[in-house]
Amino acid sequence: MNNSAAPLMELERVGRVFGDGEAAVHALTDATLRVHRGDYVSIMGPSGSGKSTLLNIMALLDRQTSGTYRFDGVDAQSLPEGRRTGLRAHRIGFVFQAFHLLAHRSVTENVAMSMLYNRMPRSSRRTLALEALERVGLSHRADFLPTKLSGGERQRVAIARAIAPHPTVLLCDEPTGNLDQVTGRSILDLFEELRASGLTVVVVTHDPRVGLQADRILEVEDGRVEMLPQSNRRVPSER
């Protein structure tokens, strides 16, 4: 955080091609966008539009085939795999549509797992995990197995897992896709709270109700990213 004016994530004409030759699929072409610290950005588009590909590249899980992507000023393409892995462990939190909780580990263990690979001392992991569970309002479920929880609670556990190591940015891939409307709503409220506490949030979704929650909305269509004109900062009370 040496220069808070520089964008946290900066994509310039980023493209991603799967396969080659005639079978090549251009999942992403010319994606240019910036995400600043404290932003709450949603990436919207119909399924198959390339938004998940975009998120995977931003998450350092995938590499673009063209263009440049700078994460916190560092060219991600030039980073060796070990460094990219390190960035995932330390700086980026993930929330998946399918939760991806380990069924045979307790809620606390699932949350603590996000700190397994990032030099967090063993002793402070549990404290941080419980802290994160409190932030998502699940302290009373700390010793449950995920299989005993409702869908909304599971996603909250997944969010707690993502935020427990205090990442710089939270990347969410259809976080409400597996939830009913009411539960999804409560997850969105949670994002709002997290953003208010200074976390950068990027949400990929095809659901306008989710997307409109954000400060900025990016539209992905046929692999192209378009920034919708307004930065219509919504008043929280509007909810």
Binding site: M1, G86, R88, R91, A98, M113, Y117, T168
Partner: protein
């Protein structure tokens, strides 16, 4: 957050162990079945080595120090050799053999033909009791006493002087002494063999070789030559140093019969080492193959199950990669899981193998003998087998791309 972005991902080894154990205990039933494969392999290996070692040890214990140091030279013509020429063993065999390096003691002996003469102690007019007995007479050289590892109850053994002077002295075996009712030699009791009298100078309590002596009247060779025209000794008993028996057996025939060494018979103990090795290798060759095969099957089982586990946990692998696990962390975790299965199987298998050895020994009245390195090394072997079995699945797991793993297991 600071500037942690330069830090590489890492994983504490304790966490690695916890994760691997959690992975195993997530499916305890399957883990146990997989362990069973390793258990069978290790158990059969340990049992094989143990039983072979125990059996081999049984053989060596029957070749004890006593028989391993005994060499006997005779002029027996053997079972089919009635017509073979017979050599006479020289009177000085004892002296000749004592010069050989490795001989502790040597003594010659011969049955004396007393033509059916009965033996009695001092005539006692007891009309009811039997006073005359048929007791065999043996002529012996002075060196026979140590050579048979004799033990006198009382008195003494005769020496070279008795033999040279042809003194009429005798040593009674304990059996003969009891029949003749002689228990002490202090007052120089006399026995009569036919008309000839002998002064009893000692009573032989026990011998470890040539047990016939215990029922005989034993006289010096010189005495037997003079009184009964004994031609030559017929048997020579040699007591060798431990390990020298084979050498002495080869030299003894030449020493006592330089012209015709082939005409004397030399009985020496078989080499116990060769027998033991033979038995062990017989048992080993058969069952070690069996053990190795079951271990191989166990290893394939571990590899299979670990591979299935990898494919089943693609989502977990993707998640871990997204959370910052490097490829090697994923590989380590699965390697550790398969190694754990192998180690656990090795521990159980070693215990089961030891039990088998004990059971087999108990049913055969053997003393179980097991090289300590076998049960201690078995868990290690199991761990190595598990490690090797896990190499391929772990490599497969580490090659998975996080994006595809997460997508494949989505929803």
């Amino acid at each position: 957050m600071k500037s942690r972005q330069t830090t590489r991902a890492r994983l504490d080894w304790r966490d690695l162990i916890v994760e691997a154990l959690a992975g195993l205990f997530a499916r305890p039933g399957r883990a146990l079945l997989t362990v069973l494969g390793a258990v069978l392999g290790i158990a059969s290996l340990v049992a094989t080595l143990g039983v072979a070692h125990t059996a081999g040890n049984q053989i060596i214990s029957s070749f004890n120090e006593l028989s391993a140091t005994s060499v006997v030279v005779t002029t027996d013509r053997g079972f089919f050799g009635d017509n073979a020429p017979r050599v006479a063993l020289p009177w000085d065999s004892e002296t000749r053999l004592s010069r050989l390096n490795g001989v502790v003691a040597a003594g010659s002996m011969a049955d004396v033909n007393i033509a059916g003469d009965l033996t009695s102690s001092v005539p006692l007019n007891d009309p009811l009791g039997q006073t005359e007995f048929q007791v065999p007479m043996v002529a012996a050289s002075p060196g026979l006493y140590p050579a048979v590892r004799g033990n006198l109850r009382t008195g003494r053994w005769f020496d070279q002087g008795h033999s040279e002077r042809a003194d009429r002295v005798a040593v009674l075996g304990i059996g003969a002494a009891q029949r003749l009712n002689i228990t002490r030699v202090g007052q120089q009791p006399v026995v009569f063999v036919g008309d000839l009298s002998f002064v009893v100078i000692g009573i032989l309590d026990d011998v470890l070789r040539q047990a016939d002596l215990l029922n005989s009247v034993i006289v010096p060779e010189g005495t037997a030559r003079e009184l009964y025209d004994l031609e030559s000794p017929t048997t020579i008993q040699i007591d060798t140093e431990v390990g020298a028996a084979a050498l002495i057996a080869a030299q003894a025939a030449i020493a006592v019969s330089p012209n015709d060494p082939a005409l004397v018979r030399v009985q020496s103990p078989p080499s116990p080492e060769s027998l033991q090795t033979q038995v062990e290798s017989d048992v080993n060759a058969l069952f070690l193959v069996l053990g190795a095969v079951s271990l191989l099957v166990g290893a394939i089982g571990i590899a299979n199950v670990t591979l299935v586990s990898v494919l089943e946990r693609v989502g977990e692998i993707g998640l871990r990669r997204a959370l910052g696990a490097g490829r090697r962390h994923i590989a380590y975790q699965f390697l550790l899981e398969s190694t754990g299965i192998g180690l656990f199987g090795g521990v159980i298998g070693a215990s089961a193998g030891v039990l088998v050895v004990v059971a087999v020994s108990a049913s055969n009245d053997w003393t179980p003998v097991l090289d300590a390195r076998v049960p201690l090394g078995a868990p290690l072997l199991g761990a190595v087998v598990g490690l090797l079995a896990g190499l391929y699945p772990a490599w497969r797991a580490s090659r998975l791309e996080p994006v595809e793993s997460l997508r494949a297991s989505g929803a």
